[in-house]
């Protein structure tokens, strides 16, 4: 029973990181109908930049802010420079483009940052909290991880639902043509949408790096698990993506705990394949069938 509790806490913590990635994928999908396979690689890149800032003696939090800001810029520039020209083309062009960005970033990273695996600092302790002699089975960093993703989600929710900027972004995503004839600068909204998504990805990168370490392909698995969560959630629904991603986190944690940690990634792929085969529209989606 105690082990179950430990696996559950681990699963939720990892699941929240996958949820940040899943939510970023959903935001980009809703705005531009593109799966951003480079989401993880972008996060790897921004995490390296944070590491450089921290290694130069700056406090962790400055590195944290720089990573998120860099994410915003990389996402926005990617949309404006690379995605915009393929937006009106067949969907396959965008798929190839985002895979190209993934390969490019993972190829450039070793040249810029070195290819070896590096450890990554945590802002708060990574060991379980102990209160009155009993362990609480959760570390301050795990609490920070869960809290940071929750806060990011809450802020995004408020921006999208409660501000006129959010209303503009939603209109641009739901119906770009109508938005344009109403005077909304749809291009800018899509650029901003990509920027915010990459910022969320950068957050996931910062939160994942202490446990998966930092190397050029360190976010590949995290991306697959986040993608699985997003697919389970139906790719359209932010709530579904978060629920799906936390579900994936829990499932992987139980597989790794009860069956063997080597099998965990395999479990993630297995879930993805099964979901794509049986319910490609996702568990939370009631819309029309989607091509996979």
């Amino acid at each position: 029973m105690h082990l179950f509790l430990i696996y559950t806490v681990d699963g939720i913590t990892n699941g929240m990181v996958y949820a940040a990635v899943a939510l970023a994928l959903v935001m980009i999908w809703r705005a531009t109908r593109i799966i951003n396979y480079a989401q993880g690689a972008m996060a790897m890149f921004t995490t390296y930049i944070a590491l450089i800032v921290i290694r130069h003696g700056a406090p962790y939090w400055l590195g944290f802010v720089v990573a998120l800001a860099t994410g915003l810029v990389i996402g926005a520039v990617t949309e404006r420079v690379l995605v915009r020209p393929v937006e009106s083309r067949p969907p396959l062009n965008a798929v190839i483009l985002s895979l190209g960005v993934l390969i490019l970033l993972e190829a450039i990273a070793p040249m810029l940052f070195g290819g070896q695996t590096q450890s990554f600092p945590v802002p708060v302790s990574n060991t379980d909290l102990v209160v009155g002699g009993t362990s609480l089975d959760i570390s301050p960093f795990a609490l920070f991880t869960i809290g940071a993703v929750l806060v990011a989600m809450l802020l995004l929710f408020l921006v999208f639902q409660r501000t006129t900027l959010g209303l503009r972004m939603r209109a641009a995503a739901f119906n770009p043509e109508i938005a344009r004839i109403l005077g909304i600068r749809v291009g800018r909204m899509l650029t901003l949408g990509w920027g915010l998504a990459a910022l969320l990805g950068a957050l996931a990168g910062m939160l994942a790096a202490p446990s998966v370490y930092l190397y050029p392909s360190n976010m590949d698995e995290v991306l697959v698990f986040g993608f699985t969560g997003a697919i389970i959630g139906g790719l359209e629904s932010p709530v579904g993506a978060v629920a799906g991603a936390v579900g994936v986190g829990l499932a992987l944690s139980y597989v790794s705990g009860y069956v063997g940690s080597d099998l965990a990634p395999l479990g993630g792929f297995a879930i993805l394949i099964v979901v794509l085969m049986l319910r490609p529209q996702g568990l939370f989606s009631f819309g029309r069938q989607r091509q996979v």
């Binding site: 006129t164 209109a171 739901f174 938005a179 004839i181 109403l182 005077g183 749809v186």
Partner: protein, 235 residues
Amino acid sequence: MLEVTDLTVAYGGVIALENVSLSVPEGSITAVLGANGAGKTTLVRTISGLIKPRRGSVMLGTQQLIGRSPEVIARLGVGHVPEGHGIVSELTVDENLRLGGLWRRDRADQRVAIEEAYELFPPLRVRRSVHASNLSGGERQMLSIGRAMVARPTALLLDEPSLGLAGGLLAQIMQRLVALVTERKLSVLLIEQNARSALSVADQAVVLSLGRVELRDTAERLAGDDALRHAYLGY
């Protein structure tokens, strides 16, 4: 004054509009009639910037609209009520109305304009926090026109507002529209397949056929001349 001069539009090699000229004076309605495929929707979509013409000019007052993007044309004062309403069904009625003038600087007047839209079409007020996907056809049309009016346009393009509406409701909406036209000095371009309804409110009428202006006259004369009506409008 909305003035279209020698507008030619082609899709690939296919000519959709050829040398179309028409004008809509302030405070008046010009109906554009014609069968399916005559180029009516192409005409409004070109005016609002969604289609780039091969040549020609569209002036709104002293501003040339051709060559500008749809978002700029909207800001210059062109309201477009697209075919099939064009409401954003994922958003609420109130959010749809707010979208109409989000670009405007004058926040206070924006609130006044939204309030006016609810006064123009009271059924919308009751449904303000409902998702637009739950609206009836008539409510959608009201929402679409109300939303265009929130931006305080000087020209209004209406693409087939009669589509899917019962006669009585359509007449009601048209009546409101006519009142607005004189009150706000609007230039209205009214695209219609339903010629009878359009001619009853329009001042001028243009008949399009295969992308060309086949006939232009006052709405009154066109509606009153049986031979013309039979020949061009089929009723």
